[in-house]
Symmetry: C2
Subunit: 249 residues, 2 copies
């Protein structure tokens, strides 16, 4: 059975794309056929694995998705590339319920052949992110240990609850992931405590440390697992992958 | 004459809200009547100056804007608070050209009494950001010195050029600001060089250093200028304010 994760958080710059790329790569390196889906008009997930954005978004083309999926440098890791065209971003962002339903069907049909699917979404709670959530089994929320990161959480949780109630698929909380974790900073400790008090079990015990090698990797078109496999960032993403394997959805 | 800045960048987490709060505070501390406008549904600018989001966004209420503006702890600094209501975010994000024009008029009418207006926008190139750009004289783009930050720039510049051609007001480039600058990191040096080679004059000579006091300030509902006035972050924002005073738009 395919397990589909949506990496989502309205707050910008919290590590959604970085988590999508490195988690998908960890699944693939463990031997599972994995698809990384780029739903962000910035196409950072596409370039972060060394590929190029396409002219028209594969979800807006009439053909079966399988024909639009491209291989990457990592065996077992495949990519559904994004598109930078403003018109595509607009179409996906303003889809009405019927169009959105078509996109969800198109996405779920094309992904059955994979063991894992990881969807990178834009920093928003708009219709494109809602479509991504409706096509997923689990939502994984990266959170930076910063003050502003706590603020938008309740809105995000409310939206996820709405989708859980109305979506055909059973959307579950895949977990909250603390990223860019710096245990020397008091602010990091404070946010860690508040998030674990508030959310308890659903917070991953794995945290991702702030590690400059993580932010250098995309400029080489690689995940940090390939660029610097012994780095603290790479080891943390492998640990996260193990934690996800242990948890049955 | 009122000078209106829109702080914009599609990339998330690059320091838009932090720059909006601290620049607006610097203008106010220099004795200029300043309005900070929160157009982001996360309402980070509102809470960052110690205020509360409102139930209905002031731009969607029929009354004159002046009645919705609230004072802050800083003399001369006023706030147009944001709203977290999903319906408001949706209405503003999906406004058709006529509705968007009403919002622009509503905003520009209400801001004439201020010397400076600073608009914080969400991480997107969608219609809400376009409305914010149409209501502004200058666009200021914060950029983090990271690889992904360079990627979306051309899309952003293209959108700004489109707005310059079609907007009633004369939108100009207010400048590109390098934020979370860490001169020990090679990646920071590389991005700095690339951005200055590509954009030349419009890059501010002031850069904002990464400074934990900057990220702590909002949890006290204050700008870093009030929370830690002698910090490197506070001094950099004052320097930026001076650089803007020197440049005539
Ligand atoms: N663990 C880490 N250590 C250091 N830098 C990191 C780490 N994780 C992410 N980064 C860097 O932080 C920046 C933000 O991360 P990323 O782009 O993945 O966030 P995002 O949530 O996808 O942003 P957006 O909201 O724009 O989509 C990037 O430049 C990335 O390289
Ligand atoms: N110079 C700095 N030094 C250290 N931390 C900073 C600095 N500037 C911003 N930050 C922190 O980085 C995070 C991102 O900044 P901010 O929220 O201002 O970005 P943004 O572009 O407004 O994000 P969004 O795209 O979600 O609106 C915040 O937690 C903020 O406190
Ligand atoms: Mg991203
Ligand atoms: Mg912001």
């Amino acid at each position: 059975v395919t397990r589909t994760f949506c990496i989502a958080n309205q707050k910008g710059g919290v590590g959604k794309t970085t988590t999508a790329i490195n988690l998908a790569t960890a699944f693939a390196l463990a031997g599972h056929a994995t698809l990384l889906v780029d739903l962000d008009p910035q196409c950072n997930a596409t370039s972060g694995v060394g590929q190029r954005p396409v002219d028209v978004h594969p979800l807006l083309v009439g053909e079966p998705l399988r024909q639009r999926v491209v291989p990457t440098e990592v065996t077992e890791l495949y990519l559904l590339p994004g598109s930078r065209r403003a018109r595509d971003a607009d179409t996906l962002a303003h889809a009405d319920p019927l169009q959105a339903e078509h996109v969800v069907e198109h996405l779920t049909e094309g992904t059955q052949i994979f063991d894992y699917v990881v969807i990178d979404s834009p920093p928003s709670l708009g219709r494109l992110t809602q479509t991504a959530l409706r096509a997923s089994d689990e939502v994984l929320m990266p959170i930076q240990c910063e003050y502003f990161a706590m603020e938008g959480l309740t809105q995000m949780i409310e939206l996820i609850r709405d989708i859980m109630r109305s979506s055909q698929r059973q959307l579950a909380f895949g977990g909250i992931l603390l990223t860019m974790y710096d245990h020397h900073l008091e602010l990091t400790q404070e946010v860690d405590e508040q998030v674990r008090d508030f959310f308890g079990e659903i917070v991953f015990s794995t945290t991702i440390p702030r590690d400059v090698l993580v932010s250098e990797a995309p400029s080489h078109g690689k995940s940090v697992l390939e660029y610097a496999p012994r780095s603290r960032g790479a080891r943390a993403y492998i640990e996260l992958c193990m934690e996800i394997f242990d948890s049955v959805s």
